[in-house]
Amino acid sequence: MTDHALVDDAQTPHAGFPFDPRFAPTHPPLSAHEAAVEANRCLYCYDAPCIQACPTHIDIPTFIRKIATDNLRGSARTILEANFLGGTCARVCPVEELCEGACVLNSEEKPIAIGRLQRHAVDHVQERGLQMFTAGTPTGRKVAVVGSGPAGLSVSAELAKLGHAVTLLEKRELGGGLSTYGIIVLREPVEVSLQEVEAVQALGVTVETGRELTDQAGLTALLDEYDAVFLGLGLGAVPAMGIPGEEHLIDGLQYIEDSKIAPDCLPDAVNIVVIGAGNTAIDAATIARRRGADVTMLYRRTDSEMTAYRHEYEFALSEGIQYRFLTQPVRVISEDGKVTGVECVKMVLGVPDTGGRPRPNPLPGSEFVVPCDAVISAIGQEKPALANELGLDVSGGYIVVNHDMQTSLPRVYAGGDCVRLRGTASTVMAVQDGKYAAVAIHQQLSQTQEAPHG
């Protein structure tokens, strides 16, 4: 029953993807012994708070106990039953805010390293290529899922387990959504995300990449062919800032994507400015820093208002990333098409806005220049414009859904970032949306006797 120490997956160059040792993961996998010791530290709480704090409600004490008893396959099954993307979530979840933050051992000592234990168990089955589930008895019903991010994969897997025939449409070349293109290699190598796409395929889901839903006619066609449609569109590119020199800005998402898929395309700048202070900004800054650049992050408010988690902020500081708060970029300065700096203005905090955060106001005459040779913009993501196109009810740019993830159109469901009007957009929330939607779709399909399409 020896579980050999797992190979650090990002250290292993993968055939398909270039590997840069500077992007080696920040948390190496647990060795078998470390995992055993950590698992035995878990109290195996009853009705445990960590389960409640996990948005997908993984039975954490049970999966940890199974690690403690050397039942790694059973442990992985417990995890993946509740969260088909347990491998990604083990790496990217803000555990301090969720499960680990709720662990009863916080008040006594250190919380259990739930994320790392989860990774230990899921890696075990993924490295051995073990499929934990089989497709359900065919129901004769068909569902189309648009978007292969965490929301799309989750709903597909759950529906396939229930016996529905699922076709997953993805506009990009690779499946996985932001897990493939957006989460930096330090946290998740591409292979892990692609393996989750393969696991969905192993359940009989047809994944058609390079297929984009572009308009209402497309949706109508899908509704003709399928019993239900799920939209897991995610969000869009980094929005424009509307400042002079905009054309010189590097899209933060593109920058991260290149670092994963095509690192040779990354600019070799030595002084990089990153605009924004959210998760994406910190991720882009981390990559730039690991590639050897001096990195300064500009944010118009202060560290108290940043949307990034505290531990992310501190991580960035420990990486040697500098911050300039109360600073608003107003112009990108360039010479002969080459960036030389960003013109900024100092800000002062004013009265709180509707969200409760103080509104930053520019201090007239305080303009100054931050010299640099590249500027990355990471100020958020555009809302899914397609939603309007499809004739869906929209609020604040997000698709409106009810408790069952149903949109304003019959037989059309949605989940993930594209519906995240409130709360933080995260992988685990997208996975849970997929589960809710699968339950609701299954219920609807079970109620309707006749297939509604021709």
């Binding site: 009853y46 445990a48 960590c50 409640q52 996990c54 933050g101 408790h403």
Partner: protein
């Protein structure tokens, strides 16, 4: 600093920590090194008949990642030639006159064989002889070890052969592989033993390897029963020690008892002393960590004795014994209930599930507003903030039988305490009650009537 020296059946040592007869006492060089580390004495690895030891002789018990909670061995007595051992014993005693050097021996059950070995041991200048009637494996099949220790007549006879020819103190080391430990003890005393020691190893099969399906230790594809020792056996050893030291016959004889079985720290040793041991022996812990552990044993015991105001080992020895009682003499009227300190509780709910599933269903989960709630949560609500408002376990004291299960499972020190509460019941022992009213022991109706009288309700 307290005086740790002992005089055990005339054997003197600067402290009560002796190495038990086993691998740690296999040679002069080893014991020399052990004494340098401070051990007060050593019982030489058993010498006697020619043997051949076998390869792969130890199995280990691991629980929850904790290694060597017990060891199981299929080792025999010393496989070094007798004359080599005897020469080294003499050498060690000459080099370390202040330490206890005791020679463990085991030979065929014949007066000649014993006479011969006793003479040789006396010639070494050793302080005492320990008779090994304990080994449960290998030697017993040859009519020695446990084969002697398990038959009181043999035990008495063999002991007599030795005590009648030597002036050295004779310690009889008992095997725990018997139903009543007092029987071989009485036999040893009748045979003239000057002291007793216990326990030797317990018969055991350590484990089965789930990969290879072999019994461990795997000796060329076969396994056999072996002797079990180490931390996991301590409660058994303590019980046997108290059985001896509360026994009329043993007490009347006045023989001291050397305790062993699972001693790893000074605290374990203190427990053996409090229950009446005059000195202690250690084997597995030394095998696990080396001789160096004795430094903390001496230091820790001395500090504890200073804290408690004990000046000598004799002050400690037996201090907890008067509390030993039989079940029939316990107070039936005593009532304790579990009380949870809400400030210490971390809300793991282990007490709740333990009491609910396997005790008396008297712990409730109570929400912040004082309302009793069932376990469970709303799946639509998540986040650590929600988890912060978990209900707290509260004991319904009138229903608590005071079994103390919850206090045993609670992971936080001092969070659940068993508090004694005023009892409405009569303070009487079972023995006294059934002497007064014998029908209570034989008739359920009488029992129910007594309960009614006392207001005892069992749910």
């Amino acid at each position: 600093m307290a005086d740790l020296s002992v005089n055990f059946a005339g054997i003197r040592a600067p402290n009560p920590f002796w190495l038990a007869s086993a691998p740690p006492t296999n040679s002069g060089a080893q014991i020399h090194r052990a004494f340098e580390h401070g051990w007060g004495g050593a019982v030489w690895k058993t010498i006697g008949a020619p043997v051949l030891n076998i390869s792969n002789r130890y199995g280990g018990l691991t629980i929850g990642g904790q290694r060597l909670l017990a060891i199981n061995n299929v080792e025999l007595i010393s496989d070094r030639p007798l004359d080599v051992n005897l020469r080294e014993i003499a050498e060690i005693k000459r080099l370390w006159p202040d330490r206890a050097v005791i020679v463990s021996a085991m030979v065929d059950a014949s007066p000649e064989a014993w006479r011969e070995i006793v003479m040789m041991i006396e010639d070494t200048g050793a302080d005492g002889i320990e008779l090994n009637y304990g080994c449960p494996q290998g030697m017993s099949e040859r009519g020695m070890g446990a084969a002697v220790g398990q038959v009181p007549e043999m035990c008495e006879l063999n002991t007599h052969w030795v005590t009648s020819i030597t002036k050295l103190p004779v310690i009889v080391k008992l095997t725990p592989n018997v139903t009543h430990i007092t029987e071989p003890a009485h036999a040893a005393i009748a045979g003239g033993a000057n002291a007793l020691s216990l326990i030797n190893t317990i018969n055991s099969v350590m484990s089965v390897d789930l990969d290879t399906l072999q019994i461990t230790p795997n000796i060329g594809g076969r396994g056999t029963h072996g002797g079990y020792a180490g931390p996991a056996v301590k409660p058994i050893a303590l019980n046997m020690l108290t059985e001896l030291l509360t026994d009329e016959g043993v007490l009347r004889s006045g023989v001291p008892v050397c305790g062993m079985g699972g001693i790893v720290t000074w605290k374990d040793a203190a427990e053996f002393l409090l229950l009446g041991a005059g000195a202690v022996q250690v084997c597995t812990a030394a095998m696990h960590y080396g001789y160096r552990i004795v430094e903390d044993m001496i230091d820790g015991l001395g500090n504890w004795m200073d804290d408690k105001g004990f000046a000598t080992i004799a002050d400690v020895s037996g201090r907890a014994l008067p509390q030993m009682s039989s079940f029939g003499q316990l107070d039936l009227g005593y009532q304790a209930v579990a009380r949870i300190d809400p400030d210490k509780c971390i809300q793991c709910n282990l007490c709740y599930v333990a009491c609910n599933d396997t005790a008396h269903q008297c712990i409730d989960l109570v929400a912040g507003n004082g309302v009793r709630v069932d376990p469970g949560y709303d799946v639509r609500v998540n986040g650590r903030a929600v988890a912060d408002t978990r209900p707290t376990p509260v004991v319904r004291e009138p229903d608590c039988v005071g079994c103390a299960l919850c206090a045993n499972v609670c992971p936080v020190d001092g969070c659940i305490t068993m508090v004694s509460v005023p009892s409405t019941q009569e303070n009487i022992s079972w023995d006294a009650l059934t002497a007064q009213r014998p029908e209570i022991a034989t008739s359920w109706d009488a029992m129910m009537a007594y309960r009614k009288e006392q207001g005892i309700e069992i749910h």
